[in-house]
């Protein structure tokens, strides 16, 4: 699995100063490589190692093999977190895609104030998760703007029925701007002459969109879907802040990363938490492989 690095420039053989160049090269990459090995590669292996131990507050208490994994399989809380994460993913991915596509198509028009609209649509994506969650807590509180406008009296984030859907809506709104950027790049890859042909054939904008733009965006849909799925499985900040780390009400917003966090930090069961991390990693890894295998080569274009 060699990474393609283009070789150009000087001929390779008998190059004067090759030894010195190599030394300088090692010197330049020394610190970055140390960081990557120490804080990325080693932790990945260390996570696998920890996941095979009964590892509590006093450190490793014995190699338990795959027992942490089988424990996870039977753990109702972990199962609940998987269910919540899947449910969240199932709703948030289509919502993000639809919103992102809508915004991209709008901004891609031949219109005035393009920069303003793009900025406005992208604005929520700029905001930090903590600040945006605080704002959401305010707007969706019982006496908040959202309820007033709709004439309701719901406690969105604190009702088992609406808590996860409310977080889904919140995150669809904040990430739509990012998805818009990816869709914009995909829209620009569609050749203009297709549209000219459609216009000559008398197709209206609605028909043109559904018959031409939408099908031709297939690679774009796929890319955005994978990015969105990977992001959805990592959801944590909003759930943590809204429920104050509990994943409540009644575990309605308890997601996988929250399980990892609480198992490691609150319960201090590092082995179990590491095993959950490995499970999440394997799933995310599969999607990342799909993403890279399908889109890595397009970068040259």
């Amino acid at each position: 699995m060699a990474v393609a690095v283009r070789k150009r420039g000087f001929p390779r053989r008998n190059r004067p100063g090759a030894g010195r160049e190599a030394l300088v090269g090692y010197g330049f990459v020394l610190v970055p490589m140390a960081v990557f090995l120490l804080f990325f590669i080693y932790p990945m292996l260390y996570a696998l190692y920890i996941s095979r131990f009964d590892w509590g507050i006093l450190g490793p208490a014995g190699n338990v093999g795959w027992k942490n994994y089988s424990h996870l399989w039977h753990d109702t809380l972990f199962r609940r977190s998987i269910k919540n994460t899947l449910e969240y993913t199932l709703w948030v991915v289509p919502a993000q895609m639809a919103l992102g596509l809508l915004l991209a198509v709008v901004v891609n028009q031949r219109i005035r104030f393009r920069t303003f609209f793009r900025g406005a649509f992208y604005f929520p994506a700029l905001a930090s998760s903590a600040a945006i969650t605080a704002i959401a807590l305010y707007l969706l509180n019982v006496n908040g703007l959202f309820n007033k406008v709709l004439g309701l009296h719901k406690t969105w984030f604190f009702d088992t029925k609406t808590a996860l859907p409310a977080i889904t809506g919140l995150n669809a709104w904040t990430t739509a701007g990012t998805m818009m950027l990816f869709y914009l790049a995909a829209l620009q890859a569609i050749p203009t002459d297709v549209y000219e042909a459609a216009a000559i054939d008398g197709a209206g904008p609605w028909r043109t969109f559904w018959k031409i733009t939408f099908p031709l965006l297939k690679p774009g849909h796929f890319f955005v879907a994978v990015v969105s799925i990977i992001g959805a499985m990592k959801v944590f900040d909003q759930n943590y802040i809204i429920s104050r780390g509990s994943g409540g009400p009644a575990y309605a917003t308890y997601v996988v990363v929250l399980y990892i966090y609480n198992t490691a930090i609150k319960d201090i069961q590092l082995g179990l938490a590491a095993a959950a991390g490995v499970v999440l990693f394997v799933v995310i890894f599969l999607f990342t492989i799909i993403q890279w295998a399908f889109f890595g080569r397009q970068e040259a274009a």
């Binding site: 699995m1 060699a2 990474v3 393609a4 160049e21 190599a22 610190v31 970055p32 490589m33 990325f40 590669i41 990945m44 260390y46 996570a47 920890i50 198509v105 709008v106 891609n108 028009q109 219109i111 393009r114 920069t115 609209f117 900025g119 406005a120 604005f123 929520p124 700029l126 930090s128 998760s129 903590a130 600040a131 605080a134 704002i135 305010y138 707007l139 703007l145 914009l184 790049a185 829209l187 620009q188 890859a189 203009t192 000219e196 969109f209 990015v227 990977i230 802040i241 104050r244 996988v256 990892i260 490691a264 590092l270 938490a273 991390g277 999440l280 990693f281 995310i284 890279w292 970068e299």
Partner: protein, 312 residues
């Protein structure tokens, strides 16, 4: 099987960010006779819809901004503008509730991370783009491999490592150093720099070499000044990422004197959840730096954010 992480078409995104030519794929077809009227109607509908969406996207922020300028009793009222304008929310947040301190902490770690990331990523990116050394491809493969390791997997091992650091047994939990160390440089930043250096023609470097400049001097005096846009994109990407970060800050910077502003906002909402004017003031302070950076450097920002897709 050779693969590299998907990078967005930076040229397209940058053109877009700089308000370049209208993209291909617009659905407005001009020049068809008899269509002018219906097109005008369509356009009117389109503008109305767009303003409606833009308002929907902005209203939460405007409402929160307005609340941050209201006295507490007024936050229960349903009015867009404050009756009594006051900066009491900001004053209380910054002094009484220590957000001045949290802001300073955020500034410290963001500056440290941004500075080292830009320097180390350009140094490493240059070596991978230009210098030849045995094992370069394997090392670069490792760099790309780190992009595949999600933070959620690193949570447990890094927490353990920072509690008792290997060999030295330092406890780096609740220290700026611990937070800074794990974010010192990112593979995404290094990858972005390498890609940019690859696009710079070799002539200038060779001229510098003929003049007797060493490798570091060539890098520092010739290549870095040419890499301005990429440096800006990396700096902005890292600044935004660190300033906005909650996941690692919440894990590592645990005690109130070390909280960043994002942790401070979350903790304030835990404890004083209904002091809405103060909470919104704190949130506005937490948003402001990134929004300002966006307003002034939008062009680089969009390029950087688009390349953040690399991070997966």
């Amino acid at each position: 099987m050779a693969f590299e992480p998907p990078a967005p078409p930076l040229a397209a995104v940058e053109e877009l960010a700089s308000g370049g030519p209208v993209a291909a794929g617009t659905t407005v077809a001009a020049g068809i006779p008899g269509r002018a009227r219906s097109e005008r109607v369509q356009r009117l509908i389109a503008y109305t819809a767009m303003f409606a969406i833009a308002v929907l996207f902005f209203v939460p922020f405007l409402w929160s901004l307005s609340t941050s300028l209201k006295p507490l009793p007024e936050t229960a009222h349903f009015s867009l503008l404050p009756h009594t304008w006051t900066i009491a929310g900001y004053r209380e947040a910054l002094t009484q509730y220590n957000f001045g301190r949290y802001m300073a902490n955020s500034a410290i770690v963001s500056a440290a991370v941004t500075f080292t990331s830009v320097f180390l990523a350009s140094l490493g990116g240059y070596a991978f783009a230009r210098l030849r050394f045995p094992g370069r491809n394997i090392l670069f493969f490792i760099v790309l491999g780190t992009l595949m390791i999600p933070d959620q997997l690193r949570l447990v091992p890094l927490y353990r490592m920072l509690t008792i650091f290997p060999l030295t047994h330092w406890n780096l939990i609740d220290t700026y150093q611990g937070y800074w160390a794990i974010r010192m440089v990112s593979a995404g930043a290094l990858f972005l720099m390498r890609q940019y250096f690859l696009t710079i023609p070799r002539d200038l470097e060779e001229a510098a070499k003929l003049d007797g400049a060493g490798y570091f001097k060539t890098f520092w005096r010739v290549m870095l000044p040419l890499a301005g846009p990429a440096l800006a994109a990396v700096a902005i990407l890292e600044f935004q990422g660190t300033w906005n970060d909650f996941f690692w800050a919440n894990l590592i910077l645990q005690s109130p004197p070390h909280w960043t502003i994002q942790v401070g906002v979350a903790q304030f909402s835990f404890t004083y959840g209904t002091l809405w004017n103060d909470l919104m003031a704190a949130s506005m302070i937490a948003l402001a730096p990134v929004v300002l950076v966006y307003l002034f450097f939008q062009r680089y920002f969009v390029a950087g954010v688009a390349s953040a897709g690399v991070k997966g």
